[in-house]
Amino acid sequence: MDIAGSFALLLAFSVAVYAFLAGITGIITRRTLLTKSAQNAGMAVFLLVTFTVGALEYFFFTDNFSLAYVAEHSNRALPGVYKFTALWAGQEGSLLWWSWLLSAYAFLVLFLNRKKHPELMPYVGVVIAGVQIFFLTLNNFVANAFRVLGAPDANGVMRVAQLADGHGLTPLLQYPEMVIHPPMLYLGYTGFTIPFAFALAALLGRYPGEKWIHITRRWTMVAWCFQTVGILLGAHWAYAMLGWGGYWEWDPVENASLLPWITGTAFLHSVMMQEKRGMMKIWNVWLVFTTFMLCILGTLLTRSGAVNSVHAFAQSSIGTWFIAFLAIVLVVCVLAYWKNRDYLHSDNELDSLVSRESSFLFNNLILLAACFAVLWGTLFPVLSEWVVGSKISVGAPFFDKVNVPIAMFLLFLTGVGPLLAWRKTSTDALKRNFMWPSIGGLLAGVVAFAFGDRQFYPLICLILSVFVTLTIFSEFYRGARVIAARENVNLLTAVGELTMRNTRRYGGYVIHFGMVMIFIGIAGSAFNKDVQQEMRVGQSMSIGQYMILCQNFDSLANDNFQSQRATLEVFKGRKSLMMLYPERRFFPASGETETMVAIRTEPLRDLYVVYAGQDPQDGNPVIHAFLNPLVKWIWFGGIVVVLGTGLAMLPNRRTAIVLAGAHEKSWDDAVPAGTPAREISAVTRGANAND
């Protein structure tokens, strides 16, 4: 089976090379048969890599420890689900997993578009095949997961050896989130290859118009959504597993996942400028290129050991390969741009600073500023070592200081941008759209201040969150009111109708609301409290309004781990609320210990309890309790973002065009008098032109 797996992997590499070369030849010679053959080869790569992944999983499930990768990341006692996820626990397997996801995306893109866009798809196939060749090169020749263990026999001849048991999966990965967090994140990373391939293909092939953007919009949103889910699941895993009471530590690997997400977000916004006004074409192409390159850079940081990280894979020379690939991608992108830059000429120019276009410009500027700040802080230790010869630390306080003001400005734009009209917004429209949300925000700030919130950024965050929420709700309300009046339905039905008529616009609002929830949740961390105490049976500790009484300590064991567990009763006042069971698990196979945090979660706060172990000095058990306000809002915000993204990807139900009179004034303001467009307007303001 190992030979079959290796062979399929090698064949996948050969087929990808064929897809690349045949694709280029087909484009140059304009032979349709050859380009079709290349695309079929691109789809075949998926089948071959799927077989390879299946073969490796077979080794995990049959406890075949003759394979070095299986021996390093599994053991007999490992539960089945973790045997499956052990596939991406190490360098070799995770790169294979990356190749499989990429090949799955490639298969879907090539299959779904096999009869469409005959001028564009050959280029797309070539770009994807180029990326596949790189990863399959790593899978075959640099980090092969099918390496067998060898040992010399009595005659000194090397034979395949099999260990009795494996070293086991690192305990940090034996947690439910770890079953889905890496695939989600990788689906995000690999998914950005698709818009990259289309952007580069459109540029190379000088494909007319904005069609590549229409084709890739959903692909980009899918990748962005997976990246969002991946990042949030990672944060939740850190929160529930590591036992330090937080969820984001600005670790280089966390930062690496954030970078393409930020540029992807910028792209999803600025792309509307190109669709609606034919503007920012160069910017958009470079945003897509940058997003893809940041995915590769993130992978380089995670895998090369260039920066210190708790998440990083073992240090290896694989970084050189990524640097080379990154350099090749950069050169190809620059050359493609330079040769075809005339193709990216803007159709329109900005008319006013108070317009939707300028808000997108500033939104992109702020997002890129955040991206730069995170990248700069992440790479500064390496830079410092190069320049002055000493490596310094750039920890969470730096990132907080630099990024929090940027995030506040971004939150402000989240509220302002969608309410500005394309081209120009009148002063009347500004007053009408922003007066009540501004008053609401300020009022919330005054109330919070009166109740004792004296911290600057949380207060600003609250004011802006209320402001943005009110702008979002006012948009739904005003649109729904028009529909309710015209179609004689209740407001709730009208909201549904409004949303389904322009899913992209209103899905976007839902995403913005989810982001507001996440911001509120993050702002809550400014009010975190914690107490660490020695606790024996019968003793208690207090934190906030809770009292924790230690009821018992016991131990549990199974084949995989031995656990020490505290039984704690939680009281609020005199009322017993629940029992919490924080644990410490020792995994004999790897010799590591991990915490299993117990959390009582409420809408306004989490009571987060860690059994820290026995004090090294006096041997007494120690309980560390945290009171973390509003954390739940982050996870709920993430769910809302996902729902909003799903909504934005749905096709519009229909666009009802009615005679003038139904349009709103801000739209009216945006359209110069005497234009034909004034004669008709969409009921759902901007269903056609005002997304």
Binding site: P208, W244, V310, D351, F372, K391, G395, P397, E594, P676
Partner: protein, 170 residues
């Protein structure tokens, strides 16, 4: 040690821990508030974690709290606090002992100043570039006759021709 022996030892330890005790729990560890705050500005130099000494939880360790190295660093800081040393002097002493890596964020001097300046400078330059671009666009827009400017909902001849070409191609 066999698995059964390990479990028995753990159980015995737990039985000892479960002995009834006075109901007042002891807060640990006992370092001054200022030492804890300063501890959050220096890295735990145990080499096994990336935490600050003041908030070391040492994931994967036998104890999820300050590891011995973090405790030693906090105790050292506490001693300096007690001797009346200023925050800067305490941090400088940590740098002398462990090198510049010990500081959790870059200092605001020498080359490290670039770490702080660049995230502000680069967006400002970008803002200026955007501002200039917008100014040029508006200037050009004002010079272009209104009839030649694109209007919302009224596509230009050029755009209509292009759409026609694209429809023809697909």
């Amino acid at each position: 040690m066999t698995r059964h022996a390990t479990i028995l030892t753990s159980a015995a330890a737990l039985v000892l821990l479960c002995v009834a005790a006075p109901s007042r729990a002891q807060q640990t560890p006992a370092h001054s508030a200022r030492a804890k705050e300063l501890g959050k500005r220096v890295k735990c130099m145990c080499g096994g974690c990336n935490d600050a000494a003041g908030s070391c939880y040492h994931s994967g360790g036998t104890f999820s709290g300050p590891c011995p190295k973090a405790l030693e660093m906090l105790t050292n800081i506490d001693a300096q606090v007690a001797s009346g040393a200023s925050d800067d002097a305490i941090l400088k002493s940590a740098v002398q002992e462990y090198g510049p890596t010990v500081l959790i964020e870059p200092s605001k001097s020498g080359f490290n100043l670039a770490a702080w300046i660049m995230p502000v400078l680069v967006p400002l330059i970008a803002l200026f570039a955007v501002w200039e671009t917008v100014r040029k666009w508006r200037h050009r827009g004002e010079q272009t006759p209104a009839a030649e400017r694109g209007t919302v909902g009224a596509p230009s001849r050029e755009l209509l021709d292009r759409v026609q070409r694209e429809i023809g191609k697909d």
